[in-house]
Subunit: 333 residues, 2 copies
Amino acid sequence: MKTKAYAIQAPGGNAEPFYYEKAIGEKDVLVRINYCSVTRGDVQIADNDWGDTKFPVVPGHEITGIVEDAGPGVTSLKRGDRVGIGYQLEACFNCQFCHEGTEQFCPHQKVVAVDYYGGWAEHIIVDERFAFRLPERLDEMVAVPLMSSGLTVYAAIVRADLPENATAAVLGIGGLGQLAIQFLHKMGHRVVAFSHTPGKRKLIEQFGGEYADNSDPSDVDVHNRKLDFILSTLNADFDFEAYLKMLKPQGKFCFVAQPLNKLRLSAGLLYDYAARTVYGNYTGSRKEMTAMLAFSAHHHIEVPTEVLPFSKINEAVETVRNGKVNTKIVLKN
Amino acid sequence: MKTKAYAIQAPGGNAEPFYYEKAIGEKDVLVRINYCSVTRGDVQIADNDWGDTKFPVVPGHEITGIVEDAGPGVTSLKRGDRVGIGYQLEACFNCQFCHEGTEQFCPHQKVVAVDYYGGWAEHIIVDERFAFRLPERLDEMVAVPLMSSGLTVYAAIVRADLPENATAAVLGIGGLGQLAIQFLHKMGHRVVAFSHTPGKRKLIEQFGGEYADNSDPSDVDVHNRKLDFILSTLNADFDFEAYLKMLKPQGKFCFVAQPLNKLRLSAGLLYDYAARTVYGNYTGSRKEMTAMLAFSAHHHIEVPTEVLPFSKINEAVETVRNGKVNTKIVLKN
């Protein structure tokens, strides 16, 4: 069938109507898109920031909508089901990673914008195994940021395998950080949110976190060797070693975003009297997606969101392109 | 009682006879030292390489010997028992870490050379909980390198929680690396040993490893995204990112030694399509010490060793100070 989408034709260009043909395969569902976000990552792809974007590109990897049709082999979904779709669209389901339930590492996977057209569109056709039924209590609009940002930080936190009532810190209080504070708080941990924006204190506290000023040395020192876990969502440079020192012995530091420049690190900080761990997290598995959606529905995880109609897509792109956006921007069909 | 030891009185000085008094406490054992190694770490402390050595210092943290006397509260050891002693001499047994069986992180711990006199001596008095009974089949001389190097790399490997039949690499084929190859091989893993010294090929193969030339790009490329685990024992600089890329998704890189300069690292290498982990390991717990000694006795773990009498202590120190030593140097009383 023919799908209407919004494509960027060249680096930095506008999103313009774009039509492509795709048949509904044996295991595919056709989803009418109701909501899709415009994220920093989408705009970085549109702007060819990493130099490997293939144009025309249709970004959009946080999608919710309704199943409108299904291939003959589809067993888990039916017409009318409310679903969410994230970054990953396909996996081989036959490699070591797929067998182990970590299909996000499948070498044959297909992901939005890199391998196929994404959610800036009226419809998307996707393997039923990557269309996740939304829990009843989870609003379609509220679910949007969960489909990629939510999965990434939830899986990052689960991998830390924290003790009960741990003390955690979150660096960077944008979309990822706002979700991380809520997940950690609702899991029963104490959460310190490092920011240099006093204006974010209220939001942080509303999410169950404690505001700490990362430009105030006394706020930094007080946490020395006190934290079990730090999650960094920062894409600006920061003093990595200062934060590493805040970790208790066996504490863990997780990156879900990359600072501008390379990190500099004394390896000794990882072991001397400490045995600390640094890891990166990359999206999550299907199993983690399902768990995260259930957790989010149960605990009312939600970030501030601004909804615009798809007709204002270029306004949305410009807003993300030009500034620091602390509100999730979501398009509505 | 009065103990005869060998102390360094000033940075870079010779080891000279030195006497100190210590009483045998309630829970202490008096151990007659039969063997103690001279390691790179000992000489770095003697030379005040880190600027914090307190003189006079008695290094020596890989010790084996015989229990000669025991305090009234000692329950686990008796006169005549063969024991090994490592880096740690005391812990509070009352803090969170001690309660969790990770007493190597106890903030009140005492360790050789930093807090007390070590094994370059005729005797040592130590808490029975840090004198480990040697398994029957484990030779006192063979056990020496296990007491610190062995514990460090064994615990590092255990923490990786590797899948069965994993593929691992070891960087640096000195004392730590030689033990790591054997542990990994005997645990059932494939082991690639990166070296730029073709002369080490025979030893590596004898330990069950495969020699790979780290200066040959084809030897490096062939491992791209293929390894589950890399253990670095290098104290020279190396291309950290090139090795990180060799790790499979969810692969782990462990440091047990610190390169000369800070590492440089793109955080994205930790997460993009990968979710890799980097950690440092610092000695090990008492439980790991006991497990490592049993494993080593069962699997005949042994590294090439040169034994010298304590009277040649300064010859031993000079050998370690001046060169690349690939043979463990052990002093015998």
